[in-house]
């Protein structure tokens, strides 16, 4: 169990592994593929006060060992998100952290107002834009803080993460998430157009670890590491540079089973170790092993082999 105690309200998590904003939807989407109860929490896709449509044109560009995603932050708006997903948040097997995109202070305040009193919400994560300044962080944070008692995390961009983490600490944030996926531009091989968007992939990890290390040295509040984590060793590297918890991003899409493996590894839940098997050797749902085991247990035991009578004595 870890406690992120930077702000006026502590955020207590059973496991230091979370899924980051923009990867797992608004709550229930991954329920069939991942045992969410094993996670420390999930952060919802970014929500804004007004509904936002998806970006037009190409939204996904495959890269060498990675991907560029330009979704345009599509979301139903806070009112409809609450209407559609609040029942699922209430029943969620793990804490839900609502990610609010920091668009304008008054809109943030109204978003927080709409979330007030909803069960299952453990914290609010404030997603700052890439060009946010110290003043922006303070303004946006104050707008949220005045209307909620929930712990508030602030997610900053990868570049100048240490300075922005300092600004988040000065504003009173409970923890700072380092960092949002960086932006890049790539040519769409199908249309030839240049497309800008967020970058994901394992190569992001060294950049993120450096930013996390710098942030850890510049602030006293807990730092949550995020970026390019694809296995338990990656996650432990973030912890070794001082992160108190981690958020997983695109690994959720490319290897959902790895999410549970990382959570089990970092949460001290590696039950297979006792039998001598490595955790990575087992994957949820692999080969219907649970169903087959149940079938085998339900069937009568096999009869012992009978020796042929014509064998020489």
């Amino acid at each position: 169990m870890i406690e992120l105690t930077g702000g006026k309200q502590p955020l207590t998590l059973d496991n230091p592994v979370m899924c980051s904003a923009g990867t797992v939807g608004f709550g229930p989407e991954y329920g069939k593929l991942i045992d969410l109860s094993r996670l420390g929490g999930i952060v919802t896709n970014p929500i804004t006060f007004r509904p936002r449509k998806a970006a037009g044109g190409t939204r996904v560009i495959p890269l060498d060992s990675g991907v560029l995603v330009h979704s345009g932050l599509p979301n139903p708006g806070i009112m409809r998100a609450v209407r559609d997903y609040a029942p699922a948040w209430k029943l969620s097997p793990c804490p839900i952290i609502i990610h609010l995109a920091a668009t304008a202070p008054d809109e943030l305040a109204r978003c927080v107002g709409a979330l007030e009193g909803r069960e299952g919400i453990a914290a609010i994560e404030l997603g700052m834009s890439d060009d946010a300044t110290h003043r922006d962080i303070k303004l946006m944070f104050n707008a949220v803080q005045q209307h909620t008692e929930l712990p508030i995390l602030v997610r900053v961009c990868l570049y100048n993460a240490a300075q922005l983490a300092q600004a988040a600490q000065d504003a009173g944030a409970g923890a700072v998430v380092v960092a949002a996926p960086p932006r890049g531009t790539a040519r769409d091989p199908l249309t030839g157009a240049m497309v800008g968007g967020r970058l994901y992939g394992p190569w992001l990890k060294p950049l993120a670890i450096r930013a996390v290390g710098q942030a850890v040295h510049s602030v006293q509040i807990p730092v949550i590491g995020c970026g390019g984590i694809h296995n338990p060793d990656d996650a432990r590297e973030f912890l070794s540079v001082g992160a108190k918890a981690i958020q997983l991003d695109s690994i959720v899409w490319v290897r959902p089973e790895m999410v549970e493996i990382i959570a089990r590894n970092l949460g001290g839940l590696e039950r297979t170790r006792a039998s001598g098997a490595l955790a990575d050797e087992w994957k949820p749902g692999m080969g219907e092993t649970a169903a087959m085991r149940a079938q085998i247990l339900a069937s009568p035991p096999p009869k012992p082999p009978v020796a042929p009578s014509n064998l020489p004595k």
């Binding site: 939204r59 994957k283 219907e288």
Partner: protein
């Protein structure tokens, strides 16, 4: 929907450019129906990073057959990570007696399971191979299917084909899909006057990073709302999709 590991049982070359893989799948994946896809990862590396959509063209018992390009080598016994079935089934209209399938500039693989399903209930099936699709090897198709060919979206005899069909299902590659479907919708309206619900369907095949509607990268605008192709699609009624 389940994540699992499946085994390639047999690799069969068909024509010069495609190969068919017989894959032994788990029980949940045997429920796959026409229109649904699997998101597959055939390597342990992260290149390619995202799972690739593998479209089933046939299923027999615990074996599903998919079609792949010959540019990648697959071996019998190879283990593949499978996620799926993804999406909603493509349903044949109950009153349909004639079915027109159209492949614009792409393999008709995504339509073959529906073709087989239609033939099994004695629905007459015609397949229009348009543009690059003309070079698809005919030995990969059931002999009962009537083949039409055309150079572009308005092929000769298109109007008659549309009037003949009780249902039309088309596939086109992104990003040209919208342009093709727009022309098809206009042609259907011209030939029929009114387009009934479920009469003209189009398959949308955008990249699907997650396959569960979480990443919102495969959204299609239907009835004024963004819906995820990996959850509500990938087949949509073209009368309801915003194509402009």
């Amino acid at each position: 929907m389940q994540e699992s590991q499946v085994i390639i049982e047999r690799v069969r070359r068909v024509g010069g450019a495609i190969q068919q893989l017989d894959i032994a799948v788990d029980v949940p994946q045997r429920t796959v129906q026409a229109g649904q896809v699997f998101l597959a990862r055939a390597t342990d590396s992260y290149d390619p990073y995202l799972r690739e959509p593998w479209v089933p063209i046939r299923k027999r018992g615990g074996t599903v057959t998919v079609e792949r390009s010959v540019t990648v080598t697959y071996q019998p016994g190879q283990v593949v990570g499978f996620l799926g079935p993804v999406g909603k089934p493509l349903l044949l209209r109950e009153t349909a007696r004639t079915l027109l399938l159209i492949a614009f500039d792409s393999t008709p693989a995504a339509l073959l399971m529906l073709a087989e399903q239609a033939l099994n209930v004695r629905v007459a099936v015609a397949l229009a191979l348009i543009g690059e699709a003309q070079y698809y090897p005919l030995e990969a198709l059931p002999p009962e299917i009537e083949i039409l060919r055309g150079e572009d979206a308005t092929w000769q005899g298109q109007r008659d084909s549309i009037r003949w069909a009780d249902q039309i299902v088309a596939v086109a590659p992104p990003p040209q899909d919208r342009a093709y479907y727009l022309k098809l919708r206009a042609a259907a309206k011209d030939a029929r006057g009114e387009i009934a619900p479920g009469y003209v369907l189009g398959l949308f095949q955008p990249p699907m990073p997650c396959g569960v509607g979480a990443c919102l990268a495969c959204l299609v605008r239907v009835r004024g709302e963004d819906v995820a192709a990996c959850v509500e699609g990938p087949t949509f009624d073209l009368a309801l999709v915003s194509l402009e």
